[in-house]
Subunit: 202 residues, 2 copies
């Protein structure tokens, strides 16, 4: 299932982003072309060439678009119980069965991320995305500490550890048949409930 923000786009950029999402799921990064994105776009393909200098320019904007959607989602979130919230994030990122579409999209994201190793525009975008998710995780952990649920850990450090683990597990799932995502999830749940949580928490 596609992330909600690729459903029912309400402007041309949103339609381009939806088409890009669908083309990435179908072709992955290496075989992607503006032409193939155009195959999923109802309006004239010349619009794509007008707005973007090639597929990498479009894909960097695609990453920026997703980050904008994540940022907008935060403001709509209710304040959950921090422990439940953190376990829900672990559950969402490391769920056992991704389904084909999410697996395809996730594999494409691994490929996009690898572009950042030598491509400054991708690198700048992933730097922003990392900072965003890190800050979100830090907030949740800080709330848990403030509410006396989590031990006096360093929330910034714990957040980087969690983010590294999430990225490594997503990468492992997309690129290796031996990699055991379920084991990472189980051990991460143990980490949250035994290391982070104070002992007498209900």
């Amino acid at each position: 299932m596609a992330p909600d923000f690729f459903e029912d786009p309400d402007d041309t950029r949103g339609e381009i982003m939806q088409a890009t999402y669908r083309a990435l799921c179908e072709h992955g990064y290496a075989d992607l072309t503006i032409q193939r994105i155009g195959d999923h776009f109802a309006k004239s393909k010349s619009l794509l060439y007008h707005h973007y200098d090639g597929k990498d320019d479009l894909l960097v904007d695609f990453l920026a678009f997703m980050l904008e959607q994540f940022e907008a989602d935060v403001s709509r979130e209710k304040d959950d119980d921090p422990v439940e919230h953190l376990l829900a994030i672990v559950d969402h990122v490391l769920q056992a069965d991704y389904g084909d579409e999410r697996a395809e999209f996730s594999a494409s994201m691994v490929e996009l991320r690898a572009q950042a190793a030598h491509h400054p525009a991708y690198r700048e975008q992933f730097s922003r995305t990392d900072q965003f998710f890190h800050d979100r995780l830090t907030d949740v952990i800080q709330q848990g500490i403030n509410q006396g649920m989590f031990r006096e850990a360093d929330p910034e450090r714990v957040a980087w550890l969690l983010l590294a683990t999430f990225d490594g597990a997503r990468n492992g799932r997309a690129t290796s048949d031996s990699f055991d995502v379920a084991a990472v999830r189980a051990e991460l749940e143990t980490y949250v409930t035994e290391t982070l949580l104070v002992e007498n928490h209900p």
Copy 2:
């Protein structure tokens, strides 16, 4: 500094692997060609075309070669204190300053790993590599449990968690300016010494 096994190759395959290592550090994956590998190879370039069906075929053998070297290294290792051994692995993988050459090589490895998202031969190779490093980590943790140093954790699960964290941190370092490897390392050391280690360990 190159891994030892790229120094002083003792046969043609070793020389090809050394040339591939150097070309990867210089060009990364996307701009790599057999021709550019040949620029670092003292013998005739036709040997490269004779042995390999293109750059991906050569790079998959490069990954296989590295795994063979890692496997050979294990048999030469002495039995360290498991806690020291685990902290030394964390230190090696997550050290603060990689240096330019290791950073370039690590960035190339992130790119090679991303090929495994859609390329079965790469995927098969990384599946083997993951299994190898997972089994090594499992052994160290199991030794620590057997010697009463580590708590009764599930060594297989802990090993997958560590491997995911290592891969995510390596990936983050190579693809993002905001990613904080030092924070991951510090929190992982806390995890080893506070969560894994039994409390009254000296």
